[in-house]
Amino acid sequence: MAKTIQQINERIASGEAVVVTADEIIGIAEDIGIKKAAEYVDVVTTATFGPMCSTGAFLNVGHTTPGLRMEKIYLNDVEAYGGIAAVDMYIGATQASIAQGDEYGGAHVICELIEGKEVKLRAYGKGTDCYPRREIETAIRLDEINEAYLYNPRNAYQGYNAAANTSSKRLYTYMGILQPNLSNITYCTSGQLSPLLNDPLYRTIGIGTRIFLAGAQGYVAWMGTQFHSGVARDEDGRPLSPAATLAVVGDMKQMSPSYIQPAVFEKYGVSMFVGIGVPIPILDEEMLKTVCIKDSDIAMNILDYSVSDGAKPILKKATYAELKSGEVDIDGKKVRSSAITGHNKAREIAELLKEQIADKAFYLTEMVQSFPQGNKLNSLK
């Protein structure tokens, strides 16, 4: 029997909703079968905690008197974008500090604000009739500024290629250190817990979907950038290469440093570990089938990162389960594989979201608009 999101929310409100994680549903469906499981379970929680470069925050720090039109802005010596209204700014996670270089960046500033720490603000303007002031040097704290919300243009990739290196030189990448001569593989995504892999054709995840974002209740704001829903798929609709992404938004004042952490990738730069959880309503048997995706069902391409000119060749097509086993056979060579993602954090988020829903602290939303299917990617000429 099919359920609606409204009915599921009513069950949450009455404390009857059955909520399980995307790890747990696999065993439940094996035990009682797809049909019974679809009736029994209302929501399946999914999550990921990985480095997501396309992360940043809009801040409004409040006006001074006389006013200053902030055009050049630095937060703890990290430049924030000031090309919007007077005291609005965007601080991007990957922006490096002018004082400390790649060891400190926008991600650190965002996290220090979330931790409640004081952040040094320097801002300059040319001085106008309505904003005569030309500079300011002061300190801000999250609870003292107006709005502060994360707006991440591209998070939660639906699958991501694994990386290796066949050259004779060690590579330092955003996928971590890749040892020379095909000595190791690194991979991201949270496998069977991954949000978009549990809803491969975006039946329930769309614009307006309420999510767990770094400890706060956030929303899917839009399709993420580089949205590539038009990739080749298997017979169950699962993408065979990286596909959709999410643009997400959430209130920094509700976030917790436990679920968002700055990252520094050696000789690459600053990034951010972002924790995202997405609840999937079990509308019918079809939906239940898709959330039963297992690590062994997830196709992962292992790409050669030593090739930088043109498309990186695929060294091997493996499954997530193979990568997770710690060793993958490539042409007879046993190659070590390890993650660049916080698996246990992802599990923790899926568990936490499950508890929040069971405790009536988190309700599901109907999406406002669905994502486009068949979207293609353009390259820069």
Binding site: F49, G50, P51, E103, Y172, G176, I177, L178, Q179, S183, N184, T186, Q261, P262, A263, V264, F265, E266, S271, F273, G326, R336, S338, A339, I340, T341, G342, H343, N344, K345
Partner: protein, 133 residues
Amino acid sequence: MKTRLLLSFPHNLTAEPVTYTLVKRYDLIPNILKADIDHNRQGSLLLEIEGEQANIEDAVMYLRGSGIDVQALKAAIVIDEERCVECSACVAACEIGALRCDEEFKLKFEADKCIECMLCIQACPLRAIRSIF
């Protein structure tokens, strides 16, 4: 045998002639790897000590008896478990397999395998691994 000891001094003891006593009384050869002594605050001293095992044990007793905290260090790196998010980026860097992940994605460090190449320090995106030197 050789062993590495990290001594932490309370502020009233930072001037204690520790190394002298180790040589004279316990017949040990101390090699100072790192000293961080501020006469007004707590200090620390990283020593590599060579000598008879029994003498090293006696010396540790003596140091502890005089109010110095002594930690035996097996490896050149320390992982800050508070900061670690178990992302396993360090596992990728550790070719020798001293750092690895178990099936539950818990980070395991086998200090006696470590060859002190220090690559994991660069690899850790959380900067949760530091050198003891």
